[in-house]
Amino acid sequence: MKKLMVFGVLVTLLLTAGLGFAQTKVAVSEWQIPFLNCLTGPLASHGSMYQWSTNRAAADINNAGGIAGKPVQVIGVDTANDPQKGTVEMARIVKESLVSLGPVPEPVIMAAMPIAVENQMLSITATTSYEYASKFFPWTVAWFPPYPKRFPPLAKAWAEQFSDMKQVIQFVEPFGPWPMMAEAHVAGLKEAGANVLKPIEVPTDAVTFGPLVVKALEQKPDGIIFACNAEKIAKMIKELKSRGWKKMDHILVFSSGDDAPLYTVGGDDINGIQVYNYVNPDIDSPRWNAFKTAFMKDHNGMTPFSLSTNYYDALFMIKEAIEKTGVAGDPSKLKEERKKIADYCANVKNFQGLMFSWDMKNGEPTNKPLFIFEIQGGKKKLVKEIKLKG
């Protein structure tokens, strides 16, 4: 009798759950997700890459049946890297949208995200740091852990490869979070027993780099970390080589420097240097391989850059949130459904990203890996994977 009762309860629960799922009727014929992106202006090359990967995600989702059975379309909204434009566009978006992607980059995030917060709409700023994103919790999620959690272990792992590396110097450009990233490297370098020399500030508008390199070499470093713009890094590495620098693997380029100009400007002169980022092109999975092949086809054979997968994953996270929480896209329940998506994304567990799976805790990713590579002939060879602890 007891067994029969338990069975009965289970059947009822299953039926209720089944009926409940079936009753969630999607109210839209197409999910439209705006993406506040910088499609023109000085960061257009980044913006077009993010747009490409988001469109790719939309195509993959639609080929697999869409979101809750309905197709998704990502609408690129250009902010032109201009806070003035970004705010008006965000003000338009928050009126009706369920959720959005972006903004990009930081000045626009700072100007436009308060509008999303005030209107309680999740907007995933997947390319900025925790330090920016966390100011707008719970209406965004961070794509990276805080600097003190991710960079010290990374810098330590890099420095520990070389027993002869005693003195490390950093080239730092005062742009957005870069000085803070450089500062976070210091703790790891010290842990590895390296003496951290006085950093060299790279002016944002610098055009000649010889004097900066000479200033750095005067301090007799045997290891260098670059935390500045990719093109400037390439030019400074050329200057270093012309001044007799030989230990190429004793140079580490930070994630934001792992961008097209590093390779195009650096050419063969960057052979042997190490870079770190969040994308490992050597991962072998059908999903990643398909993404990589398509990316290379559309980007003159270049492998996906750092940050190129972020918005791909962000769209999939939105898809998962909509489907798992039964969001229907009903305009009359806009507020409630926005909250459901935000709550889901902030604490999603075992999210299957393009390259790896991860957990979120209150908007913060807890177990994402970082990779150190060596560059040879424009290609990356994995040196180390650093797993961050939650």
Binding site: L39, T40, G41, G76, D78, A80, D82, P83, Q84, K85, T87, V88, E89, A91, R92, V94, K95, E106, P107, M110, A111, P114, I115, E118, N119, E131, Y132, K135, P174, F175, G176, P177, W178, P179, M180
Partner: protein
């Protein structure tokens, strides 16, 4: 009020006021880019006062105006009668210096910027109406003052100095004093605008005050017309609002359109769309209408 309209109106007002801040010294051929640095200095100072010292917004706004005026006055002691080129160099240098100082000042967020400026009055709607009221109150007040200035002896002195400094000096006009007056007023206005600009966004980032802002203001002044205050009033909403209405295919050509427009205007209408002659004609037309109306009213009363 719809949110997009609020942002459009508030940013347009800032653009009008800032263009006037640039317009006034340019009346005597001073391209005074110090105003952009002043926006940043006053804005960051006000944000620090509100966020760190917990002082009220109104005090911070007042400080923003005062700080702008003080910096403008001190600098004007040295460049009040300087040639155009020197004033431009001083302005650019100040933008660089200001950026560097802010980048290296942790108390104002350094390169990260400042977040979480509070709503004025504790409520978003009150905040928005207050910002709009202040901004458009300022537009009316400053517009009135500039209008009076343009029609005053001082305004005519500035026009003379624009054309020939030596001749103006020989007429007994103290160019330096005039320069100090205009530069100080402009900087004071820019200081207040900087505070309000940050409170529109509820945050401060160094990239709000770049050479991009200089570009926008220059385009507004030169396309609208640099010889009257009305050119700015026409150009600011059109140049800012127009691209927002562009379809995405055209929007990506925004900068090219701006550039082409600027070249077109400089070549074909060097004074900009609204010229002094046009303003005088409109004023004459209005005053004639006014005279006719008053005459007819008087004659009716006589009957």
């Amino acid at each position: 009020m719809p949110l997009p309209l609020y942002y459009f109106l508030s940013i347009t007002a800032v653009n009008i006021l800032m263009s006037w801040a640039l317009y006034l010294p340019y009346r005597m051929a001073h391209l005074h880019f110090l105003v952009v640095a002043n926006m940043a200095i006053s804005g960051y100072t006000a944000a620090f006062m509100v966020l760190s010292l917990q002082l009220p917004f109104w005090l911070a706004l007042l400080t923003g105006f005062l700080l702008g005026a003080i910096i403008g006055f001190v600098v004007a002691q040295f460049i009040g009668d300087a040639p155009t080129f020197a004033v431009v160099i001083v302005g650019f240098t100040f933008i660089y210096i200001t950026r560097t100082v802010i980048e290296n000042t942790e108390a104002v967020g350094g390169t990260m910027g400042l977040f979480g400026l509070p709503n004025i009055g504790g409520d978003p709607a009150v905040h928005r109406w207050t910002i709009l009221a202040i901004l458009y109150g300022l537009v009316l007040l400053v517009g009135f003052l500039i209008h009076r200035f343009d029609h005053s002896q001082l305004g005519r002195s500035a026009s003379a100095a624009f054309i020939d400094r030596d001749l103006t000096t020989s007429l007994g006009i103290d160019i330096k004093k005039l320069g100090i007056l205009l530069q100080t007023f402009s900087c004071m206005l820019a200081g207040g605008c900087g505070v309000l600009y940050g409170f529109i966004y509820k945050s401060f980032h160094l990239d709000y005050f770049t050479f991009h802002v200089v570009g926008i203001l220059m385009t507004i002044i030169f396309v609208g017309g640099y010889k009257t205050l009305w050119g700015t009033v026409l150009a600011a909403p059109i140049l800012y609002g127009g691209p927002l209405l562009f379809p995405p295919e055209i929007a990506s050509w925004r900068i090219v359109i701006y550039g082409a427009l600027l070249i077109f205007v400089l070549v074909l209408k060097p004074e900009g769309f609204i010229t002094t002659r046009f303003v005088y004609r409109v004023e004459a037309l209005l005053s004639r209408k006014g005279t006719k109306q008053s005459l007819s009213t008087n004659s009716q009363e006589d009957v």
